[in-house]
Symmetry: D2
Subunit: 352 residues, 4 copies
C-alpha cells in the first residue's frame, strides 16, 4: 500500500528512513579507517561491551547480525538440535512471514494459540505437559525452545509477571526462551510497561535488540545471556550467509545507539508520536482494532474510506475483517515528524 | 594476522575501509526520505536499470543482496533442484570457506581440480561425459550448475576464450553457468584482460557484481541474464534470511557505483596500486608464489622474515608451503593509498 | 499400551502381524532366484504393471517404497520446490506424528482446520484465495501441494464428491493433490463408500497404496498419476535413504497383493471384523467417540475402566478427553481373528 | 550390466538373492504372532542383546535400520551438529553413491585421498592439525566425525593396527569414528585379517553390521558403542523416514543371524567362494585390478572380451581404465553356489 507520490503522508512501517543522523555522522567520520573484518574490530568490541553493560549481563555473548528473519533463523538453528522444533504463537513472525526460513534449516515451528500476538505461559506449560505425557512422544518433534516477540507483531507487550511465568516454564522443562526484539526499543519505552532491558536479559536465554526498525541503517544485536547456547555461533552465522564482512559497520551503529541512551531516547520519540496519533484518530472517532502502548496502532476502516484515505496517506494493510471492513496498521518510528501527524489531523478534518 | 596498532600498514584484504565517499554522501543526502521496503523503492529500480544497461542485457532480472556467502548459497539453492549439486573448483570459495552454506541448503559441492583457482572447460566436459555414461548415475548427485569465480580466490582471471568454452559446455549439457564476481571490478580493470562486463553477461546464466570489496559499504548485485532461473527468487531470498529491509540502502549504493563509471574507475585504482605493489616487491627481490593481474598478490616468505614483517605490516595468511615457508597475500583495493605503498617500500629498504 | 503377555487380546494397531501367508509363500518360493537390484527386476515390473491396471492409469509412474513416513516425506520433497510448503489438516500424520520429517527436507506443513481428520475443499480454496490476495504473499511459504489421507488418521473417508471438489480446487490453483493411502484398502472396502481405486487415480496427482498395514511385511506403492511430477524420483528416493536394495522383495509383495484381488479381499475382512467389533461395543453400551466405516474405532473410556480393560486387552491410547475420560482406539486388520472378537465379547460380559 | 536371461551366471553383487533359509523359516513360524511396533517387541530386544554380547559391549545402544544409505545418513545426521561435516575417503560410499543423502541433511562430506578405498590415519591427523591451525577455521566446516567402511568399497580391509591408529587420532581430537559395515561379515571372515567384531566395537564409537548383503532380506544393525552419541536417536530415525513399523521383522532376522554364529558362517562361505573365484581367474590368466581378501574381486577386461563374457555372465561395471580396458567387479556372497563357479570355469575354458 506504499505510494511514493509527492506529499503523501507515510505511516506504513518503522523502516522507511535511513539511520539516525548521529549514526551516519559516525560512519562518515570513521569511513577511511582500516579495520579487520567479521566483527573482530574495536568498534564491534565496544558495541558488545556497551550492550553487556546496558543488559547488566557481563558474561553475555553478543553477536551483531543484519536483519530480523536472518537473526531468527540463525539463532533458532544455532540453538536447536535436529530433533527439536520451536514453540511460537500462530501469529509469530517466524511462523507466518519468514517464507519458511526456520523450516529451511530443518526445524518445525510448533504453533500455539495467541492472544493479541502473545503466548500464554499456561498454554506453553500445558503443551509441554501433554507432550511429555504422550506415549507417542518419540514420533513427534521435541519442543526445544520457546519463541516470543516483544513487542509482538500486534504491538502488544508482555508484563514482567508474564515474562517471569514464561521463563519459569522454560526453566522447568530446561528449554531456552528466545525473545525477538526487532522492535525492542518501542517496547522498553512504552507507557506503563514494567519490563526493562535488564529484566529481559534476566528472563530470557537469548534475545535480540532490533536496530533496523529503531534508528540503525540495519542490524540486530543478539544477546546470549546463556552463553552456553552460543557454541560455535560464529560458524553457524557464516553457514547461514549471515556473517557481515565489514563488521565494524554494525559495531559503529550499535556502539552509537548505546551511547548516551540514544536507543532509548529515539524509541521514546516513537512512543510520543504514537500517543499523538492515537489522539488524532480518537478525535476523529476512528474505530480501533487494537490500541497498543507501542508504535503500532491498528484501525478498522470501511473499504471505501480506506480507499479514499489511501490517496493521501500510506499505511499497512493488516487483514480483511469482513466483506466491508479491513484492519490497517499505522506505525510511528524514531523518525516520525510531529508535523506529519498534525498534517494527518488536518487531512482528517477535511474528510479528505 | 590483522593488527590494529597505530602506524601499521594494512594490506590484509579489500574490505578494510567503509565505502567510497560518494556513496556515503548519497546515503547522507537521502537519509530522511521515506521509501517502501524490500527493494520496491525507486533507488533500487534505478540501480537495477543501470546495471541492466551496463550489462547490455535489458531482460536481465537483478537482485541486490548483502554479502558474498549469502549470495552464493541463495543463488545456488534458488537455481538447483533437490537432486542436483554444483560443480566447482576444489579451491572455490563455496567449497572451502563458506562453512558449508551450500550443504546447509541440501546441495553437494562437486569438486574438480583447479589450476591457479580456475576450472578447465575440458575437466568440466569430461566430468559431465563420465557422469552421463555412468550406469550408476541415478545413485549420484546430478551436476546441476557450474560455479566459477572471476577473479578467482587466487586473483587469476579467465580469458574470453576460456569463458566461451565453459559456457559452451554448460549449454551442451543444459546446466547454468554461475560466476561469482565478489571482486568483479578488479577483474574487469585488470591489465590485458579481454573480458568485459557485457561479455560476462553474455557468457553466463547468472553472475554477481561485488560491491562489498569494491567501494560499497556492502552489497552484491545478482544478475540473472537467464531470467527463467529467477522464478520466485524474492521468496527464496527471504527464506535464506537474505532480504534486506531498507532495500534503498542497497539501491543507492549500486545506483551510485553505476553512475559515471564509478565502479570501474575505483577498480582501476586498485589495479594501479597492485602494479606498484608488485614493483616494490620485485625491487626487493621477494619471491612470488603467484603474481596476478588483479588486486591480490601472493608471496613466499620465510617464517622468520614473515614474523618480522608482521610487526609493521598486516597481510593475509594463505597457506603453509613447507616447514620453513609460508604463502601470504597482499591485497589492494579501491581505497589503497599510494603513500602506504611508498611507506612499505621505505620499510623494506630498512630491512625492517 | 501394548502388553505382550500370554492370552492378551490385541487390538492396538493394524501392523501387529507379519504378512499374508500367500506373500510369505511367494517370498519362500522365489528366495534363491537371482535378480538385479533397486527395482529393476521383473517382479517389480510386474507389480507396477498390475497396479497401473488396477488404477486404470496406464501412463502412471509407480515406485515401491518401504514405509509411510518415508513415503510421505520423499514424495513431498520430490514434488515441492524450495519455496513451497504442503497444505494439510492439523491432525494430518505429516503434521503431528512424523517427527518433523517434512521440515527436515526444508518444507513447511501449512495446517488447516480438520473435521474428523478431513480437509474441507472450501477451507483449502479460502486459504489459497487469501494467499494469492495477500500483499505480503512473497514473504510467505507458497502452498505447493495439498496432502490428504484416505482413510484419515481418524478412520474417516472422503466421499467421491468431496474428493472431486478438492481436486477441482487443486486444478484451479495448479497444485498437486497427494493422497496418503497408508490404509487405502480399508477405505476402498468400507461400507457405503463411493470411492474406488480408479477414482482415486483419476482425482489425485500422486497417491500411495499402503502395504505395511494391509497384508504386506512392509511396503507402500506410490502412484504418480501425473507422471511429470516423478522427474528423477529414483534419485530423490536414493537421497532420502529410501531406496530398497533387493527391490524384488517389494515387487513380489505388491505383485501378489494385486493378484486375484488379494489386496481388496483381505481389506474387506478387516471391515467385516470392524463391523463385529462395533456390534460388540454397542451390545455392551460403550460410548463411541467416533464410529467409522473403516478398520479403526474410537471409544471413550473412564480411566478406571480403561485400566481394568487394559489388563486383558491391548488397544491404542488416542487422547485425554478430560480428567476422567480417555479416548482409545481399537483397530482390526487383514489378520484379525473372529475368535478374538468373540473372546472380547465374552470378556466384556464378565465385566472383566 | 545385469541380464536376467535364463542360464546366465550372476556375479553382479552380493544382494541378488532373498534371505538365508533359516531367516525365512523363522519369519514363517512367527508370522501370525502379534507384537508391538517400532522395535519394542521381544525379538528386537533379543537381537539387540545377542549383538551386544557378540560385540562384548554390554552398554552399547543398538538400533535396527533397513538399508545402507539410510543408515549412513541417519547416523551421520544424528551424531553431527549443524556446523560439522564428516571426513571420508574420496571413494567413500557416502561421498559418491548416495545421491547426496548426507548433504540433504545439511552436512558436508569432507573428502581425503584414499588408497584402495582406505583412509590413512596420518592423512586424517594431518587434516585435523591443519584445520585447527588454520586462522580461517571458523569460516570452514568443522570436522565432526570420521567415516570409514570395512570392508571398503574396493573390498579391502583395515588391519588392527590401522584401526587403532585411526581411533587414536579420533580420540585425540574428540571426534567419533564411524565404521560402515555394510559388508562387515565378509571382512570379519577374510583370510589373514586380525580384526574381530569385538575389536571393531572397541575401536569405533558407532558402526553397523550389514544384513542386506549378508544373509538378511534387508537390515543393518547400528551399534553405538559410545551410547552418548545415541541421544534421541529413535526420533532422528523417525525423522529420516527410517523407522520400520513392524520392527520384529528386523529383530527376527538379526536374532537369527546372531544365533549359532550364522552371520559368521555364511560370511565364511562367501570368502571360500571368492577364493575359488580367484583361482579360476588366475588359471585363465585374467589380469586383476585388485585381488582382495573379501568377497569382491576386480578384473581388468578388454572391451571386446568384456562384451563377449557379458553374454553369458553378469558382473558389475566398475570404471573405465582407458579407451580399451574396463575394470569390472565380481562378487560372491553367502548365497553363491559352488556349481556356478565351476560353470564359470568351464565357460572360460571354452573361450566363450
Amino acid at each position: 500500500m506504499t505510494k511514493e507520490r509527492r506529499q503523501m503522508l507515510h505511516f506504513d512501517s518503522d523502516y522507511m528512513e535511513g539511520a539516525h543522523p548521529r549514526i551516519l555522522k559516525k560512519l562518515m567520520e570513521t569511513n577511511m579507517e582500516q579495520t579487520s573484518g567479521y566483527g573482530t574490530d574495536t568498534y564491534t568490541l565496544e558495541a558488545k561491551q556497551r550492550i553487556r553493560q546496558a543488559c547488566n549481563c557481563p558474561e553475555a555473548e553478543v553477536y551483531l547480525l543484519v536483519g530480523g528473519t536472518q537473526t531468527n533463523s540463525t539463532v533458532i538453528d544455532g540453538v536447536l538440535t535436529n530433533y527439536e522444533g520451536v514453540l511460537a504463537a500462530q501469529t509469530g513472525h517466524i511462523s507466518v512471514h519468514e517464507a519458511g526460513a526456520v523450516e529451511h534449516s530443518g526445524h518445525k515451528v510448533l504453533t500455539l494459540p495467541q492472544k493479541q500476538g502473545k503466548l500464554d505461559a499456561r498454554e506453553v506449560r500445558s503443551y509441554l505437559q501433554r507432550f511429555y505425557q504422550d506415549e507417542n512422544q518419540e514420533h513427534m518433534v521435541y519442543p526445544g525452545m520457546v519463541y516470543i516477540s516483544h513487542p509482538t507483531e500486534y504491538g502488544t507487550l508482555y508484563t514482567k509477571a508474564e515474562l517471569e511465568e514464561l521463563y519459569q516454564v522454560c526453566q522447568e522443562y530446561q528449554i531456552p526462551l528466545f525473545l525477538d526484539g526487532a522492535r525492542l526499543g518501542y517496547g522498553l519505552m512504552a507507557e506503563g510497561t514494567d519490563v526493562t532491558l535488564e529484566e529481559i536479559a534476566a528472563l530470557t536465554d537469548v534475545f535480540y535488540i532490533g536496530g533496523t526498525k529503531v534508528g540503525a541503517l540495519f542490524g540486530e544485536a543478539v544477546v546470549f545471556t546463556n552463553p552456553k547456547l552460543a557454541k560455535h555461533f560464529f560458524t553457524i552465522v557464516k553457514q547461514h550467509g549471515a556473517l557481515f564482512a565489514k563488521g565494524r559497520i554494525l559495531g559503529i551503529q550499535f556502539a552509537e545507539l548505546f551511547t548516551d541512551d540514544l536507543y532509548l531516547r529515539i524509541s521514546r520519540h516513537a512512543i510520543d508520536m504514537a500517543g499523538q496519533l492515537i489522539r488524532v484518530f480518537e478525535r476523529h472517532d476512528f474505530q480501533f482494532y487494537l490500541k497498543t502502548p507501542t508504535n503500532q496502532q491498528f484501525l478498522i476502516l470501511e473499504k471505501k474510506q480506506m480507499k479514499q484515505l489511501a490517496e493521501k496517506v500510506s499505511f499497512g494493510f493488516w487483514e480483511e475483517l469482513d466483506d466491508d471492513h479491513t484492519v490497517v496498521r499505522f506505525a510511528t518510528s524514531w523518525a516520525t515528524r510531529e508535523e506529519d501527524i498534525r498534517e494527518l489531523d488536518r487531512l482528517l478534518d477535511t474528510k479528505f
